[in-house]
Every structure is written in C-alpha cells, then in structure tokens.
C-alpha cells in the first residue's frame, strides 16, 4: 500500500475547523472563547463608532437635540425617563412612575407576547403543515387558503385581531403568531419531503408504525430547520408586536413609543429604541441558546437536517 502518499491523517489538527474541535492542544482562552471575545470587541467598537458619529453631528450642530438627541442626552436622566414606564399591564393605565421594575415589567410583557406567539406559531404551524402533507383531503381543502393568506402582511391582520380578540394581550400574540404560522405551515411539508429516505427505511425495517416514525424520526429530523424558520422570523415578530402594542394593546414597549411620539418626547423615543434593540438582540441569543440546548445535534448557525 502506498502509505507515504497519505501520511497526513484526515483528522489533522490543522484542518480541524469543522467538528474536530476537541483536540489535545489546550490554550487559554479557548479558541471558542477567543472568537467570542473578538466578536464582542468588534461589536462594541461598531456601536461606539455609531454613537460617536451621532455625538459629533450634535456637536457640530447638524443634529437638532430636540429631534435627534444624541446618546449622552437620552441616557442622561434614566430615572426621569423610567417614570413613563408602568408596572401594570392595564390598558389606558396612567404611568405610575415606577423605576427599573416598571421598565422590566413593560419589556417583560412585550417579550412574553413575542415568545408566546412564536411558540404557538411553531406548534400549530407544524401540526397544520403535517396534516396538509399527510391527509390528501385536508390538503385539497386547506392549501389554497393557506397560499392566499400567507403573503398578507401581519400588520394587515391588526384590525381583524382587534375585532375578534378586543384590546389586550391576545391581538398582539395573534399577530406574532401570524408572522410565523404560514411560513412554518409551508415549510413543514417541504421539510418532511426532504427527510433522508434512509432514515425512513431504518424505521420501517425496525418495524416502526407510521405514528412512531413521525414522532421519533420525522419530527426530530425536521425540527431544526423549522426552528430556523422561527429564528428568521424573530425580527418580523418584534416588528408586529410593537405595532400591535401601539394600536391595539395599550401596554408594552410599543405603547411607550406611541406615547413618546404623541408627547413629542424625543429622549424617550430613543431610550425606548435602545431598549428594543437590546431586547431584540437578546431574544435572538435566547433562541440560539434554546436551540443549542434542546436541538443539540445541530451545529450552531446550521438549520438543515442531514
């Protein structure tokens, strides 16, 4: 055998960028931590640069501080700003001037609506998608309607949500639900169809019933990419929840936006925007962590099932 020609083993540490991460060479900080620190560093630099340009525009009097107050202004009087946040989740309630806890409560309600809507969309979307895929009569009856409703912007559903569910949490949750539901319904069928045939062969040879095959082979095989669909729609979910809160809920961060606009409070607008940005970033991180914990067989950043 021509061993010399293949003297470099395929799992060589030099080529170990994929999967071969657990190698005896241990350094501190670990390569993963180093990568994370580097990206954190550049993230901070990026945000810092953005703030600096803004501050500069204010300094040279291009940006009007009444309309576009730079970060040092809207972050200056946080206790004063927090007076506008309210601890309760009541519609039309006057702000009771609660501090950090009120901010947390307001943000918490918004987050609750986002995540409840996403979870409902994932579960019901998968269920309906699977029914469409497996039951021919249901497919014939439902698919046309799904295709008709899918391209309608969730915002267009807002009046419907309010007509049907009234004012409160439900219309906001419903809008988030709509944002992911149709995308999940449509991708479920495609995902089921692309489950590797050999997985199904193995299940059949082992004597699995159709039900067992669905719950124990097909569902785990398609979940990673469905979850990826949820993650991709997270921004959309944040968008519609704020719109819903502005119009149909009367509490949450969207309501703060609306109030700040109505009272011409630019500082509050930007403070609120900063909070929304941070929460949006955090919720993507949370979904990623959730994926890492529960869908542990998928490499981070990868959504496909092989």
């Amino acid at each position: 055998m021509t061993m010399s020609a293949q003297s470099v083993p395929s799992g060589s540490p030099l080529g170990g960028s994929l999967g071969g991460g657990k190698l005896p060479v241990r350094s501190f900080p670990s390569p993963a931590a180093k990568r994370r620190l580097t990206s954190l560093f550049w993230g901070l630099v990026s945000v810092g640069l953005f703030a600096a340009i803004w501050e500069l525009l204010w300094y040279v009097e291009v940006a009007n501080p009444l309309l576009l107050p730079p970060p040092h202004m809207f972050l200056q009087d946080i206790p004063g700003t927090l007076k506008f946040f309210d601890r309760s989740n009541k519609v039309g309630h006057m702000a009771t001037g609660g501090g950090a806890t009120a901010l947390m409560a307001t943000a918490g309600w918004t987050m609750f609506r986002v995540f409840t809507g996403l979870a409902l969309g994932l579960v019901l979307g998968t269920a309906v998608g699977a029914l469409i895929h497996y039951i021919k009569t249901f497919r014939n009856l439902a698919l046309g309607t799904v295709l008709l409703l899918a391209p309608i912007s969730p915002v267009a559903w807002l009046p419907v949500a309010i007509f049907v569910f009234g004012i409160g949490d439900v219309p906001a949750i419903f809008l988030v639900f709509i944002t992911v539901f149709f995308a999940i319904v449509l991708s479920t069928g495609a995902q089921i169809a692309s489950v590797p045939k050999n997985y199904l062969h193995v299940a059949r040879i082992m004597g699995a019933t159709e039900r067992q095959t669905f719950w124990r082979v097909i569902l785990p095989a398609i979940l990673p990419s469905l979850f990826m669909t949820v993650r991709l729609n997270l921004l959309g979910a944040w968008m519609v929840v704020l719109v819903a809160e502005t119009v149909g809920v009367g509490s949450g961060l969207g309501q703060i936006t609306n109030m700040a606009r109505a009272t011409f409070n630019a500082k509050l607008v930007f403070f609120n925007m900063a909070i929304i940005g941070a929460l949006g970033f955090l919720s993507d991180w949370a979904l990623r962590e959730f994926q890492r914990k529960t869908l542990w067989w998928v490499a981070p950043g990868e959504g496909a099932s092989r």
């Binding site: 293949q6 062969h201 059949r204 082992m206 699995a208 067992q212 998928v298």
Partner: protein, 267 residues
C-alpha cells in the same frame, strides 16, 4: 444450482423482475429473471456495473420495494414487508443525529418495546462487539466514517438478523479504513452466523469477502455468472489464483460496462 444446498436457503430469489415506471416516462426494466439462493450463513457478494439494479435487489429482499414479477422467499416465507430479521446497511451510516450512539443501536429494540435497562445492556454488548464500547454516549457527529458504519452494523445486529444486507457499505471510506472494515465485517459475520449479501463494484472487495460472487449484467440486470471463491481467508493477495479471479472479474465487468456505454450512446 451452483452448489448443493443442505439446509433450506436463507434467501431464495425466484425469477425476479423489476420494472420502474416513473410518472410520465417510459418504464425502465431494472432486473430480469433473477434466480439464485443464499444458504444460511453464506457470504454472497453482488458485483456489477453501476445502475445494474443490484442495490434494487437488496431493497426488494429487505421488503422496502416490491417485485414486478417472480418472488423472494426468506426462510420459507415470501417477503411482503420489511422485517428486522433482514437488516440493511447503507453507504452512509444513516444514524439519527439526535440520538446518542447507544440510543441509535437501541432504536429498533425500543420500537419493539424492550425495556430501557435491557436495551442499554444489549446496546453495550453490540457496541463492544464492533469495538465501540467506549463510544456509548457520543453523538454520531463525533465519530469517524468507519466508526459510524460500525455503529450502523451494531444497530442491525442488535435485532439478531438472519440476513444482513449491505449496499456498498464501505464505498465512502478511505482505502485503509476500508480494508480494516472488511476484516471487521468477516469477524462480525462469523460471530453472528447471519447470511450476508453485500453489494459492491470493487473486485478486490468481492474477492476479499465472498463465499460466492454473483456477477450482474448491465441493465436490465441479470445474473451473468456465479463464481465461488475457493481461497482460504484471509484471502492471499499474492496467490496466483487470486489474480486469476481478479482477471476473470475484470474481464466479465469490462464486457458489461462496454455494453452499457454502447447502449447509452445508441439511446
């Protein structure tokens, strides 16, 4: 029959035809009039040019595909549906990435309702047998290609199959791993007592492993000839008879490949 068969054949292929009828296209005849038996505990290699339908035959014996004509009888019973007694191993290990190696091996047992403690015991036993005793709680991604294929063997063996079918199981592995896997497979074969049907297009693999080699013609696949390999194992690669076999198979296959090409060009 090429050799006297003492016991009831483990697999009996009787005048089997297979015709594919893809929607809206002309039907393709994949296999025509196949006829041969596999004795209990026999190692049979199916050798032929690609596209000759030898993999299709495995899928039909496994019960995953129906026959278009003739019948397949295993242990006296016609094959109508898949069974864990007829294990099938694919070119890719096809382990479930969401299960640990031990849980993958125990998958069939859990389908059959074997209790978790017992499942674990069997999985450990099987993984030890294939030399993966310390990989129980690893994920499939953490194993090399050869290890994954051994785990797939363990998964099939856990069901105590009477026939083990392998569809080019080592084709995706590098040359060194491949020859190690062949030794490993012979050991598994002796331990388990199962009949093995292995599809390959590698002549060396066929001579290294088989009791008998079934050579297929190009499409439509028919049995061109059946050659018993009368060499002791491990097969002596320096023996002149080894090279006689090699030359014979090379010649047999070359004729079929030429025919397939000529047909493609005519079409």
């Amino acid at each position: 029959m090429n050799r006297p068969i003492s016991a009831r054949p483990s697999v009996s292929i009787k005048a089997v035809d297979k015709i594919w009828t893809p929607e809206g296209r002309t039907p393709v005849e994949a296999l025509r009039g196949l006829e041969f038996d596999v004795a209990p505990g026999e190692f049979v290699v199916l050798l032929g040019p690609s596209g000759c339908g030898k993999s299709t035959l495995l899928y039909m014996i496994a019960g995953l595909e129906g026959v278009s004509g003739g019948s397949i009888v295993c242990d006296g019973l016609p094959v109508t549906e898949p069974s864990a007694e007829r294990g099938l191993i694919f070119q890719e290990a096809s382990l479930f990435p969401w299960l640990t190696i031990a849980d993958n091996v125990a998958f069939g047992l859990s389908i059959q309702g074997v209790l978790p403690v017992r499942r674990r015991e069997i999985a450990i036993e099987m993984l030890k047998r294939v030399g993966l005793g310390d990989m129980l709680d690893k994920k499939p991604d953490e194993l090399s290609g050869g290890m994954r294929q051994r785990a797939a063997c363990a998964r099939a063996l856990a069901m105590k199959p009477k026939v083990l079918m392998m569809d080019e199981p080592f084709a995706a592995l590098d040359v060194q791993t491949r020859s190690r896997m062949q030794d490993f497979l012979l050991q598994i074969w002796r331990d388990s007592g199962a009949s093995i049907l292995l599809v390959t297009h590698s002549i060396d693999e066929a001579i290294a492993l088989a009791d008998r080699v079934v050579v297929f013609t190009a499409r439509p696949g028919r049995v061109k000839t059946i050659v018993p390999i009368d060499l002791p194992r491990p097969r002596p690669t320096r023996d002149p008879r080894y090279h006689e076999y090699r030359d014979m198979f090379t010649e047999l296959l070359a004729a079929e490949v030429d025919r397939a090409f000529a047909e493609q060009e005519a079409a």
